[in-house]
C-alpha cells in the first residue's frame, strides 16, 4: 500500500512536469514554422504589421511593450518603495497593519477592473489634458494602469524585506549618530535590496504579461509610438486581438509573437533565479567569515 501510494504521488509530480514541458514545446513547435516565412531578424525589426499582406514585423509592439513596462516600473518602484518605507518605519503599527491589508486588497482586484476604471477615468482625463491621436487611449494610459497593477507586488515584497532587517542594524546606525532617514536610506534599504529586487522582477513579469486591461486603454494601433500620448499595441494585445480570426501564416505569426513573449519572461525568471543563488552564496560566505573570526 505504502509503495503504491508513493508511485501514485510520483505520477502526479511527473504529470505536472510533463504538462509544463508539453506547453512550452507546443508553443515553440507552433511558432517555429513561421520563421520559414519571415526570418527572425525581419520579424523582430520589421516596422510593419499587415496580416492581410502577409507582412509581419513586431518591432512597434516590442517597443510598446518595453516602453510600457519600463514606464510602469519607474513609477511603481518610486511609489512602491516609498510607501513600503512609510508603512514599516514611519507609521504606528496598528495603522500600518490596516494599510497593509489595504495593499492586499489592491492586489486582489482583477486586472479587468483596473482596465475598466482606466477606460472610464484615466483615458478621458488624458484626453482632456493633452489630447493625442487616440483621444486619450495611449502609452501613457497603459503605463499608468500597469503601474497601479504592479504596485501591490512591489510594496509587499519591499515591506517584507524591510521588516526582515535585524534590529541591531538600526540600533548600530542610530548609536553611530545617523538620523532616522539616513538609517532608512543608507542602511535598511541596502540590507533589504535582494528582496526588493525579487519583487521588482516579479512585477516586471506581470507588467509585460498583462493583456486585457492594456487592450482597454491602449488604442491598439500597431504603429511605432512617436510620443507618450500616441496609441500603442503591446505584444500580448496583438495575440489576444487577432487570435480569434487568424489562420495559416497569420496564426503562426501570432504563435511566434507568443514565443518572443515566452522567451522574454523565461529570461527574466532565469535572471531572478541567478540573483537568488548569488545572494544565497554570498550570505553563506558571510556567515562562514563570521565563524572564522
Amino acid at each position: 500500500m505504502d509503495k503504491v501510494m508513493k508511485k501514485v504521488f510520483w505520477c502526479f509530480a511527473a504529470l505536472t512536469m510533463t504538462v509544463v514541458a508539453f506547453m512550452g514545446v507546443y508553443i515553440i513547435a507552433n511558432g517555429l514554422p513561421f520563421f520559414k516565412h519571415t526570418s527572425l531578424w525581419a520579424f523582430l525589426t520589421g516596422k510593419n504589421w499587415m496580416p492581410s499582406g502577409e507582412i509581419f514585423g513586431i518591432f512597434p509592439m516590442l517597443v510598446a511593450s518595453l516602453y510600457a513596462t519600463i514606464g510602469a516600473m519607474v513609477i511603481a518602484i518610486i511609489v512602491g518603495v516609498s510607501t513600503a518605507i512609510v508603512l514599516v518605519e514611519l507609521l504606528p503599527a496598528k495603522l500600518a497593519a490596516l494599510l497593509s491589508a489595504a495593499v492586499d486588497l489592491l492586489a486582489g482586484i482583477p486586472s479587468v477592473i483596473y482596465g475598466f476604471w482606466g477606460l472610464m477615468v484615466v483615458v478621458p482625463l488624458i484626453n482632456d489634458l493633452w489630447g493625442g491621436k487616440g483621444a486619450g487611449s495611449s502609452l501613457l494610459a497603459v503605463i499608468f494602469i500597469l503601474a497601479l497593477m504592479v504596485l501591490p507586488t512591489v510594496i509587499r515584497m519591499t515591506e517584507v524585506s524591510l521588516r526582515a532587517v535585524p534590529n541591531e542594524y538600526k540600533e548600530g546606525a542610530l548609536a553611530l549618530g545617523s538620523s532616522r532617514l539616513q538609517y532608512i536610506f543608507k542602511v535598511q534599504l541596502k540590507a533589504a535590496s535582494s528582496g526588493t529586487l525579487a519583487g521588482i522582477i516579479l512585477a516586471i513579469g506581470r507588467a509585460l504579461g498583462e493583456t486585457m486591461a492594456v487592450i482597454l486603454v491602449a488604442g491598439n494601433t500597431a504603429l511605432l509610438p512617436q510620443s507618450i500620448t500616441d496609441p500603442v499595441r503591446t505584444l500580448t494585445a496583438n495575440i489576444a486581438i487577432e487570435m480569434g480570426y487568424a489562420s495559416g501564416v497569420h496564426q503562426q505569426a501570432l504563435f511566434a509573437t507568443g514565443m518572443v513573449l515566452f522567451v522574454l519572461i523565461i529570461a527574466i525568471n532565469l535572471a531572478m533565479h541567478m540573483l537568488n543563488t548569488r545572494t544565497e552564496r554570498r550570505e553563506r560566505r558571510e556567515s562562514k567569515g563570521k565563524n572564522t573570526l
Binding site: 500500500m1 505504502d2 501510494m5 508513493k6 504521488f9 510520483w10 509530480a13 504529470l15 505536472t16 512536469m17 506547453m23 508553443i27 518610486i78 511609489v79 512602491g80 516609498s82 510607501t83 512609510v86 508603512l87 514611519l90 494599510l99 491589508a101 489595504a102 492586499d104 486588497l105 489592491l106 486582489g108 482586484i109 482583477p110 486586472s111 479587468v112 477592473i113 482596465g115 475598466f116 476604471w117 472610464m120 477615468v121 497601479l148 504596485l151 532617514l181 513579469g205 509585460l208 504579461g209 498583462e210 493583456t211 486585457m212 487592450i215 482597454l216 500580448t236 495575440i239 489576444a240 487570435m243 501570432l254 504563435f255 507568443g258 513573449l261 519572461i265 523565461i266 527574466i268 525568471n269
Partner: protein, 260 residues
C-alpha cells in the same frame, strides 16, 4: 530637523498617501457608479458560467497540485527530477495568462476538438493555477512540525496514513488559503478564458457549451461600450465577489495564527 529631511519626510508622506488615495478612488468610483445598476438576475448566465469555470479548474488542478506537493515535500529526496519539477512550476507561474490562452485555444479548442467551451476554458485555467496550488500546498506542508510525523511513525502508522491522518489535517488552513486564492485568480482571469471559452452570453446547459464569465462579460461590455450601466453593475458584482474572497483568506490566515 534639517530642511532637507523635512522635505524628504513630506515627500514620502505624499507618495504613500497617494497610493491609498488611488485605492479609495478606484473602489469608490466602482461603488458609486455601480450600486444602482446591480442586476443579479440579468447577470445569472455570467455568474453560473463563472461557477462552472471555478469548479472545473479546481477539480482538476487541486488533486494534481496537492499530489505533486505531497510527493515533493514528503517522499522525494533531493534529485534532478525534483529540481526539474521545481523549476518547471516556477516557470509555469511566471507565464502570462495570454500564453495559456494561446495554448488552450490551439490544443484544447482546436486539436482536441472541444470547441469554444466551458470545458476547454476550465482545463486552461486549471493549468494556470496548478503552480499556485503546488506552491501553497508545499508551504502548508512545510509548516507541519517534523515531530508530528515522527510521533505517528513511531506509533506504528504507515507513511501513507501518517500523511493522510496527521500531516494533511494539520496543513488544512494553509491549503485552503491557497485554494481560495486560486479561486480568486480564476474569477479575475480574462485573457485565457476569452480565447478558450468564447463569449456566448446565456445560461450554459452543459460544459461543452460556450460561456462568458463575469470578467469576460465586463471586458466585452467595456470594449463594445453598448451599455455602460450594465458594465458598472458587472464591475461591482465582480469586485464584491473578489473582496469577499479576500476577506475569507484573511479570516483563514487569522485562524492559522491563533491555532499555533
Amino acid at each position: 530637523m534639517k530642511a532637507k529631511e523635512k522635505i524628504l519626510y513630506s515627500l514620502l508622506g505624499i507618495i504613500a498617501f497617494s497610493t491609498f488615495g488611488m485605492l479609495i478612488w478606484i473602489l469608490s468610483y466602482i461603488f458609486i457608479k455601480g450600486i444602482g445598476n446591480v442586476d443579479l438576475i440579468g447577470l445569472m448566465p455570467a455568474i453560473i458560467t463563472t461557477i462552472y469555470m471555478v469548479v472545473i479548474g479546481l477539480v482538476i488542478a487541486v488533486p494534481i497540485g496537492m499530489g505533486t506537493a505531497i510527493y515533493l515535500n514528503e517522499y522525494a529526496k533531493p534529485s534532478k527530477f525534483v529540481k526539474g519539477i521545481r523549476f518547471s512550476t516556477e516557470c509555469l507561474a511566471a507565464v502570462p495568462s495570454i500564453l495559456f490562452g494561446l495554448f488552450g485555444m490551439m490544443f484544447f479548442v482546436t486539436q482536441l476538438k472541444l470547441g469554444y467551451s466551458i470545458l476547454a476554458g476550465g482545463l486552461t485555467v486549471a493549468l494556470m493555477i496548478l503552480p499556485t496550488v503546488v506552491k501553497t500546498t508545499e508551504e502548508a506542508l512545510k509548516t507541519v512540525p517534523l515531530s508530528y510525523r515522527e510521533g505517528s511513525l513511531a506509533l506504528g502508522a504507515s507513511k501513507f496514513s501518517t500523511i493522510m491522518k496527521v500531516v494533511l489535517p494539520s496543513a488544512v488552513p494553509g491549503i485552503l488559503a491557497g485554494i481560495v486564492f486560486s479561486t480568486g485568480r480564476i474569477i479575475g482571469e480574462t485573457a485565457a478564458i476569452y480565447l478558450t471559452a468564447g463569449m456566448v452570453f446565456r445560461v450554459p446547459g452543459n460544459v461543452m457549451e460556450s460561456g462568458r464569465t463575469l470578467s469576460v462579460h465586463l471586458y466585452m461590455l467595456a470594449k463594445e461600450g453598448i451599455s455602460l450601466e450594465q458594465a458598472y453593475g458587472t464591475a461591482i458584482v465582480l469586485l464584491m465577489v473578489v473582496l469577499g474572497l479576500n476577506l475569507l483568506t484573511y479570516v483563514i490566515g487569522r485562524k492559522m495564527k491563533n491555532g499555533k
